[in-house]
């Protein structure tokens, strides 16, 4: 879904390298949401996800000359973001759950359950090893296809599917209380 923009991305990169700084803003606006969401699911902290996303874009801009036009911009900047997230994770002591404010305003009962479900999902995702957390995040929170995930992570699509299967099995155990609920 996000990767349908290859041509537009490349054009923006070229314009940016041509000195048109505003062209980079197009890329920021296009990818800040998926990248932020992926960062959030990898890190589990809203502020750190925001910082990691910002750092990734700034570093991408600074190293735009190293971008290989034969690969996708999203894949490239994702790898930068991943490094940012790994760095942030090393500095983390414990995972803190989402605050109610981050999860949005709640209506009465349904909303409370929704918040609890989101917390449970995030807790379960954070309990996965990074290899599994990454594929789950890219697939379900980044909306990427197996092939796109494979290209982004530099692993075979078969490995992506295998990891997804294992990750979901583990999540099924930790989310058993929520499985089947609407």
């Amino acid at each position: 879904m996000y990767l349908d923009q290859d041509e537009a991305d490349l054009a923006a990169v070229r314009r940016c390298l041509g000195g048109e700084q505003a062209a980079f803003e197009e890329l920021v606006l296009r990818y800040q949401r998926p990248l932020f969401n992926v960062a959030y699911r990898l890190l589990g902290r809203y502020d750190e996800a925001s910082d990691a996303t910002q750092n990734a874009f700034v570093k991408a801009y600074g190293h735009l000359d190293t971008f290989d036009a034969s690969q996708r911009f999203f894949s490239w900047i994702y790898r930068i973001l991943r490094n940012e997230c790994l760095n942030a994770l090393r500095g983390q002591r414990t995972w803190e759950p989402l605050s109610d404010g981050v999860l949005g305003a709640a209506g009465p009962t349904d909303a409370i359950e929704d918040v609890e479900r989101q917390r449970a999902v995030q807790r379960a995702v954070m309990s996965l090893d990074m290899d599994y957390r990454e594929v789950i995040t890219l697939r379900h929170f980044g909306g990427m296809s197996y092939e796109d995930i494979a290209a982004t992570l530099g692993i075979p699509a078969k490995t992506v599917k295998s990891r997804l299967y294992t990750a979901r099995q583990r999540l099924a155990q930790s989310l058993s209380a929520w499985n089947g609920r609407s």
Binding site: Q21, P34, Y40, Y46, S50, Q54, D65, Y165
Partner: protein, 314 residues
């Protein structure tokens, strides 16, 4: 029942988990995230970290990145070590270059930072340290015992807390700079380390003009090749001159940099007489004048300075 294929929604359980994950949805990023990113990028541009596009051939980019502030960024990085003598200034080039190259050693482990110092323990809990530790270059630096020991010094902690040093750490150009043999050669010179450790020079380096001046590859190259010039730079007269905006402008002048490459002039500049003359406001003003710089670059002036420096005992 259809056999379950890895990653496909072949089982009910897999499907339920997938639905649950998909049902969580996405979270809105901060409303000001894009503007913060673009502001940060604009700040980097202002600091001289610019991308210059040179040409496009057959759809492939051929561009050159002109990194402003490499020398200054690297200098700021090493200020923290120079302040406390890490690497020891008596060690010479070998120590500093070795230390810089060891940046590519094994990963630091939590247990590596062992200290009985309560103040240092407190520093390790600060936001400053947390920000620094998140940076790859800093983590690489912290792999080295010398750097970790340097952290025990309060002066180093003050330096680390300064925005200029943090900015330098955050700049990817630092790593590039440390791979430059010319920069390493300059930074490893004991004279240069003592200059960097000087409070007045550190304050001067905080100014945009001085940063631009010392970002010049020519300055780095000339300093690397001329030990005599390193001594001149270490002189009090030079450090005082450095605070002059006119001298900073002269250093940033391409024509001036051009004449700095002139060997005869380098020898002349390294003389005590020239160092003393640097203290004069008249010479400062003259150096920032294009006509004076042009006159200096004339062959007649070069010959005159050469003969003068040869006659002057050093």
């Amino acid at each position: 029942m259809k056999p379950v294929e890895y990653g496909e929604m072949g089982s009910e359980e897999q499907q339920r988990v997938a639905d649950l994950l998909d049902g969580v949805g996405t979270i809105d990023p901060p409303a000001d995230l894009s503007s913060r990113i673009m502001t940060k990028i604009a700040e980097h541009e202002d600091d001289g970290d610019r991308l210059l596009f040179t040409s496009t051939v057959g759809g492939h980019r051929m561009m050159k990145k002109v990194v402003g502030g490499i020398a200054v960024a690297a200098a700021l990085l090493l200020i923290t070590m120079a302040v406390t003598g890490y690497p020891p200034t008596g060690k010479g080039a070998e120590g500093a270059i070795g230390a810089a190259k060891r940046y590519h050693a094994d990963q630091i482990k939590t247990d590596d930072v062992k200290t009985q110092d309560a103040e240092l323990q407190a520093f390790l809990q600060t936001d400053t340290f947390q920000k620094l530790i998140a940076d790859k270059t800093v983590r690489n630096a912290l792999k080295h015992k010398e750097v970790r020991q340097a952290l025990a010094d309060p002066a180093v902690r003050v330096a680390l807390a300064s925005p200029a040093v943090q900015e330098a750490f955050a700049n990817g150009a630092v790593e590039q700079a440390l791979e430059s043999s010319a920069v390493l050669q300059v930074l490893s010179a004991s004279q240069i380390q003592s200059v960097l450790a000087s409070q007045s020079v550190q304050s001067v380096l905080a100014s945009q003009g001085a940063r631009a001046a010392f970002a010049s590859p020519q300055v780095v190259a000339v300093l690397a090749s001329q030990p005599a010039l390193q001594s001149a730079v270490a002189s009090q007269a030079f450090q005082a001159a450095l605070e002059s905006s006119a001298f900073q402008a002269a250093l940033a002048n391409q024509a001036f940099m051009g004449i700095m490459n002139n060997q005869a002039l380098q020898v002349a500049f390294a003389t005590p007489q020239f160092a003393a003359a640097l203290g004069s406001s008249e010479l400062m003003r003259a150096l920032s004048s294009a006509s004076f710089v042009n006159a200096l670059s004339s062959s007649a002036m070069t010959q005159a300075l050469q003969s003068q420096s040869q006659a002057t005992p050093q």
